[in-house]
C-alpha cells in the first residue's frame, strides 16, 4: 500500500535542475512493544523544482522523520512519496544532518570527498572536486585538518560541502544550524542562500526557528505535533537574491513572523497539553 519511488543515492553525474518532491497522504507509524506512535499522518506536500521549502514545527512533530523518508533512509507506512527529476526518473539527494556528523577518522578533504569515493570517482577527480568545494565554503586552508580541530561553524560548512560534492538535485537539511551561535548562524544562512541561488537545486530544510524559515524559504510548511501533519503552508514573498538585512528590514517580515508564530504557538501549546 505504501508506494515509494526511492531517491537514488546521490551521484556525481551531469548536473541536473532541481528535483520535485510530491507527498500524498504520507504516514509513518512506529510500532514498539508498548504500542504504536504516529510520527507522520496524512502529509500532503508538493515541492517544486528549484524551490526552497522550510518545514517548521514543535519538537516531536515528525519533521525529521519526514525528511528521512524523503532521503530514503526510512519508508512511509502509508501513502505515496515521489522524489523525481522533471522527466520522472528518480532524483538524487544528499542530506546535511544536525550535530556532529563529520567522520572523525577522515580529514576535512576526505570527508567532503567521501560520497565521491563511494561513487567510484578517481583520486584526482575527487581531489579537484574537494578543492572546489573547500573553496566554495571558504575553507581552502583546512583540507588536511581533522574535524575536531575546526570550530562548530566550520564543521557545519564542511557538512554542507560534503552534501554538495555529490551535486544532488535535492538538498535535504535537518536543522543544520541548530547548534551554532547566532552570529555564525547568520553568516551560514547567507552563505547557503548565495550557494543555492546559483545552483537551481531544490532544498527541503527543517528548522524550529521562524526567523530562519523567513530568511531562507520560498514556502514555509508548518507542522503540528501528535500526530505530525501539515497545519499550514505560508508563501514567503521576499525577492531574490536575498540578504539577511533586506529580509529583516522588510515591513512584511514582522507581519509574516506574527502569522507564523500565531499558528505555531497553538501547536506548541496543544502539543504540550497532549503530552501533559
Amino acid at each position: 500500500m505504501a508506494q515509494v519511488i526511492h531517491p537514488e543515492p546521490a551521484s556525481s553525474q551531469t548536473p541536473q535542475a532541481g528535483a520535485q518532491v510530491i507527498a500524498r497522504h504520507v504516514s509513518r507509524r512506529f510500532t514498539t512493544q508498548t504500542g504504536s506512535v504516529d510520527a507522520c499522518i496524512d502529509v500532503n506536500l508538493t515541492v517544486d523544482p528549484g524551490q526552497f521549502v522550510v518545514i517548521v514545527g514543535p519538537s516531536g512533530c515528525g519533521k525529521s522523520t519526514f525528511l528521512r523518508m524523503v532521503a530514503g533512509l526510512d519508508s512511509p507506512t502509508g501513502g505515496e512519496l515521489l522524489v523525481t527529476q522533471q522527466d520522472g526518473s528518480p532524483a538524487s539527494n544528499a542530506m546535511v544532518f544536525h550535530g556532529r556528523t563529520l567522520f572523525p577518522w577522515l580529514t576535512i578533504r576526505d570527508n567532503i570527498a567521501y560520497g565521491l569515493r563511494l561513487s567510484g570517482m578517481s583520486r584526482s577527480g575527487r581531489r579537484n572536486r574537494a578543492e572546489e568545494l573547500l573553496d566554495l565554503v571558504g575553507l581552502s586552508r583546512f583540507g588536511d585538518a581533522w574535524p575536531h580541530q575546526l570550530s562548530e561553524g566550520m564543521r557545519q560548512r564542511v557538512s554542507i560541502a560534503r552534501a554538495l560534492a555529490m551535486d544532488p538535485t535535492l538538498l535535504l537539511m535537518d536543522e543544520p544550524f541548530g547548534a551554532l551561535d547566532e552570529q555564525t548562524r547568520f553568516i551560514l544562512q547567507e552563505e547557503l542562500l548565495r550557494i543555492w541561488e546559483k545552483s537551481g537545486k531544490t532544498v527541503l530544510f527543517v528548522t524550529h526557528s521562524i526567523d530562519e524559515a523567513l530568511i531562507l524559504a520560498d514556502k514555509i510548511v508548518i507542522m503540528s505535533a501528535h500526530p505530525g501533519t501539515i497545519r499550514e503552508v505560508i508563501d514567503v514573498p521576499f525577492p531574490r537574491p536575498r540578504s539577511l538585512t533586506d529580509v529583516r528590514s522588510d515591513p512584511q517580515f514582522a507581519e509574516l513572523f506574527t502569522t507564523t508564530w500565531t499558528t505555531l504557538r497553538d501547536e506548541v501549546e496543544s502539543g504540550g497539553a497532549f503530552r501533559g
Binding site: P9, A10, S11, R68, A71, G72, L73, N93, A94, M95, F97, G99, R100, T101, F103, P104, W105, L106, Y114, G115, L118, S119, W146, P147, H148, Q149, R162, M166
Partner: protein, 255 residues
C-alpha cells in the same frame, strides 16, 4: 603554559629520584637490611654481570617472544570476534555470557588447563597470553562498534554506502580507538600473565629468572629482574602508542 610544562617535567623526574635516594640512604646506613633491600646503585654491577656472564638477554628475549606471539594470536581473533559481536546482535547474545564469565576469571588460574591442552612447552606459554588478552580485545572492540553514533551510518547510507562499505568506512575506523584501548590494556595483562606463568612452569624467561633468584636468595639479581620487567612493560606501551599514532592519527592528535 611553558612554565607549567617545565615544572611538570621536573616533578616527573624528581618524584622517583627522591624515592630512590631515600632507599639508597636507608640501605647504605643499614637502617633497612641491605641484604634484602640492596641500595639501588649497588644493582649496577649485578646488571652488567647478568648481561655479560649470564643469559639475561636470552631471558628477556624469550619472554618478549612469548608476549608478542601470544599478543598477535590473541588480538587478531579478538578483533574479529569483537567486530562480529558489535555488528550482529545474535553473535553478541550468544557470546556475551561466555565472554563475561571467562573475563572475570584470573587468567593465571587456567594455566593448568592450558598446560593440559597445549603441553608444558612453548605453546602453553604463548597460548596463556593469547587467551588472557583475547577477551579483553574482543570486549573492547565490541563496545567500540556499539559506541559509534548511528548518525554516521545514516550519513554514509545517504551518500550511497553499501553494507560492505559501511563496514570498511564507518564500523572499522569508528571502532579503532577502542581496539587500541583494548590492545594497550592487553599488553599490561600479557606481562602479568607471562611472569606468572614463568614463575610456575618455565625454565627460562624473565619471570623464571626472578623466581629462581628469590629461591636461591640472590636478591640483587631479583631486583634487576623486577626493574627489567618494568622497563619491558614501558617499552611495549611505547610500541602500541607509536602504532596508534600511525593507525589512529585523528585520536593520537588529540592527546
Amino acid at each position: 603554559m611553558m612554565r607549567k610544562r617545565r615544572t611538570e617535567l621536573l616533578l616527573t623526574i624528581m618524584g622517583p629520584l627522591i624515592v630512590l635516594l631515600i632507599w639508597e640512604a636507608l640501605s647504605r646506613t643499614e637502617t633497612i637490611d641491605p641484604l634484602f633491600w640492596p641500595a639501588p646503585t649497588s644493582l649496577w654491577d649485578t646488571t652488567v654481570e647478568l648481561f655479560t656472564e649470564k643469559d639475561l638477554l636470552g631471558d628477556i628475549g624469550i619472554s618478549l617472544y612469548r608476549i608478542l606471539l601470544g599478543f598477535v594470536l590473541g588480538t587478531i581473533p579478538g578483533i574479529v570476534i569483537g567486530l562480529a559481536m558489535g555488528l550482529f546482535w545474535p553473535v553478541r547474545a550468544a557470546l556475551m555470557p561466555i565472554a563475561s564469565a571467562i573475563y572475570a576469571v584470573p587468567k593465571i588460574a587456567i594455566l593448568p588447563l592450558v598446560i593440559i591442552a597445549f603441553g608444558i612447552g612453548e605453546l602453553s606459554k604463548i597460548m596463556i597470553v593469547a587467551i588472557s588478552i583475547f577477551f579483553l580485545v574482543a570486549l573492547n572492540t565490541m563496545s567500540g562498534v556499539l559506541s559509534i553514533d548511528n548518525q554516521f551510518r545514516d550519513v554514509a547510507r545517504n551518500l550511497g554506502a553499501s553494507k560492505w562499505e559501511l563496514f570498511w568506512t564507518v564500523a572499522l575506523p569508528g571502532s579503532l580507538p577502542a581496539i587500541f584501548t583494548g590492545m594497550r590494556l592487553s599488553l599490561g595483562f600479557a606481562l602479568i600473565v607471562i611472569v606468572g606463568a614463568e614463575f610456575l612452569a618455565a625454565d627460562k624467561g624473565i619471570g623464571f629468572m626472578i623466581w629462581q633468584s628469590y629461591q636461591t636468595l640472590r636478591i640483587k639479581q631479583m631486583f634487576v629482574g623486577l626493574v627489567i620487567t618494568g622497563i619491558m612493560g614501558w617499552a611495549l606501551t611505547l610500541v602500541v602508542d607509536a602504532l596508534e599514532r600511525i593507525i589512529v592519527p585523528w585520536r593520537a592528535d588529540d592527546a
